[in-house]
Amino acid sequence: MEPEGRIWRRLREDRAGLAGLAVVSLFLMLALAVWLGLIGQDWSIAAGGRWEPPSPQHWFGTNILGQDIFQRAVYSVRTAFEVGLVVAVLSTLLGALLGALAGWYSHGWPDGAILWLMGVLDSIPFYLFVAAVAYALQGQPWAMHVAMIATFWTGTSRLVRAEVMKLKTREFVMAARTIGLPDLLILGRHVLPNTVHILLVQASIAFVAAIKTEVILSFLGLGVQDGVSWGLMLAESTQEVLAGHFNNFLAASLMLFVLLMSFNLLADALQDAFDPTFDPKQAAQ
């Protein structure tokens, strides 16, 4: 059976992965619905009293300002996807680009420079870096995204670099070079497409990491500035729980957990499907 067929078959058989995919799609539709203005629009309105318990008007009750927790939790799905997608896509692309360049010109100066950059970025403690970027960008809402993209790309680029170094020695690449095709063309058209499996898995890992990071950044006051996110809800809840009000905390953490868990399962399924040595039968025994 050719490789593509095998990959699809594995994906179809991975029940956990399929469940993950289903849930993620559900969340994605929620995010789209919020973006299109269909639901979750009343997240900032103080519609009720302080800390009301769940009721038909407010399904999860209200927070300290009387805002509807359910509305806020739903709107946060949109925030999560915005942050997750932007960071995942851009950091993976950046990583792919720099990794490919480093791998192609390995042992030359581009490789040395990119490796040095990766080393530097990896040695700066992440939250200090983000705080610094947030300040450098004067509290702009994109500061958080920039900081994440600027640090997340290193993981992808390391893997792409290694893969490109391996692919460089394969016959089809050597053939292309003998014909005289320009390097960048070979990289773009022949080599990079063969790293797609790495990129897909890395993007999904970055998505999860971005959402988790946003939560902590929002707690530190460096995250989402306008709108609401699960991170902000959790940050609010830190004082509330000490007074015995758990609705905010539960709503945010549950939705966060479900989305993250589903995405992780999906990422695992992708990784297993692409792994040539993985045997589903082995894992099932």
Partner: protein, 312 residues
């Protein structure tokens, strides 16, 4: 002889890189402290004087080189915010951070290794699937959620109410244990999923090697195979991971835990310095981090030499 020289050179480049980026971000773009020091009704002369003192009127390269020179000669100065000597601040807070983070970091890795071994040994069976499932679950829970949940469950009247909610009044061993338990537990729970996942993969890879088959062919039991042969052969990737996760886990993690639990450690000090633009403190923290990273790399190389006879 050439090898250590090359390593030192790369280390130096790294330190320069880190200091450069940090300088650009924190010092060049950082908050202008002139007005914090002077207040609102300052004369033009006073402003000019303070700016000159703080070095704001110098060109970029000059300021950067001064910065690096200060770092290397350990002229760390005094905090703009409190006036306390930076070296005193670090001496006071660094041990706190270490005492706070080390138990959780070590425990998280040891348990990850043990669980990874258990899962790899019974690969594909229910033990493995349980451990792997728990790992994925752990990876899907936010650090913040864990901290809040643990705090409620262990430190408030809504839970067991056994541990302090905030603070660090450590005078002896019992008070240390009392304060460090919840942070340690949080750190372990957060890192355990990732650690177990990683170590399991390493052990599965090692267990498939030929020499394991040889050992089995001569009668070694599964326990011996795993805990002696696989483990010792996996030390290189284990060391790599532990050492290179130090910046992330210990330093970044300490920032979060210290902020949350109100513990006076380096992370919190560093964070406050960034948000208030306290440059002397910033310089010191950043420089130290870069040096620490280079030291970690050197230590890693030495450890490789110790555990793997093939490394020259």
């Amino acid at each position: 002889m050439q090898y250590p020289l090359r390593k030192a050179f790369h280390g130096l480049l790294l330190v320069l890189g880190v200091t450069f980026i940090s300088f650009v971000l924190m010092v060049w773009f950082g908050p202008d402290q002139t007005y914090t020091l002077l207040g609102k009704n300052a004369t033009a002369e006073q402003i000019a004087e303070v700016r000159h003192e703080l070095g704001y009127d110098q060109p970029f390269l000059r300021r950067y080189l001064d910065y690096v020179a200060d770092l290397f000669t350990l002229r760390l100065g005094a905090s703009n915010a409190s006036g306390e000597q930076v070296s005193r601040i670090l001496a006071r807070t660094a041990p706190v951070s270490l005492a706070l983070m080390l138990p959780g970091f070590v425990l998280g890795n040891l348990m990850g290794i043990a669980l990874g071994l258990a899962a790899a040994r019974r690969r594909g069976q229910w033990t493995d699937r349980l451990i792997s499932g728990l790992s994925v679950t752990g990876m899907s829970i936010s650090f913040l959620v864990i901290i809040i949940a643990l705090q409620v469950l262990l430190s408030t009247p809504y839970g067991l109410n056994l541990f302090p909610v905030r603070g660090w009044q450590v005078t002896d061993l019992p008070s240390y244990l009392w304060h460090v338990t919840v942070p340690t537990l949080s750190l372990v729970l957060v890192t355990l999923g990732y650690n177990t996942r990683f170590y399991r993969a390493v052990f599965v890879e090692e267990a498939s090697r030929d020499h394991i088959r040889t050992a089995r062919a001569f009668g070694a039991s599964p326990a011996v195979l795993m805990w002696k042969h696989v483990l010792k052969n996996s030390l290189v990737p284990i060391i790599t991971r532990v050492m290179f996760s130090i910046p992330l886990v210990v330093i970044s993690g300490s920032l979060l835990i210290e902020s949350y639990f109100g513990i006076p450690g380096v992370g919190k000090v560093a964070f406050d310095a960034i948000t208030s633009g306290d440059q002397p403190v910033l310089k010191a923290v950043v420089g130290l981090t870069a040096v620490a990273f280079v030291l970690i790399q050197i230590a890693t190389d030495l450890l490789y030499r110790l555990v793997d006879p093939r490394v020259a």
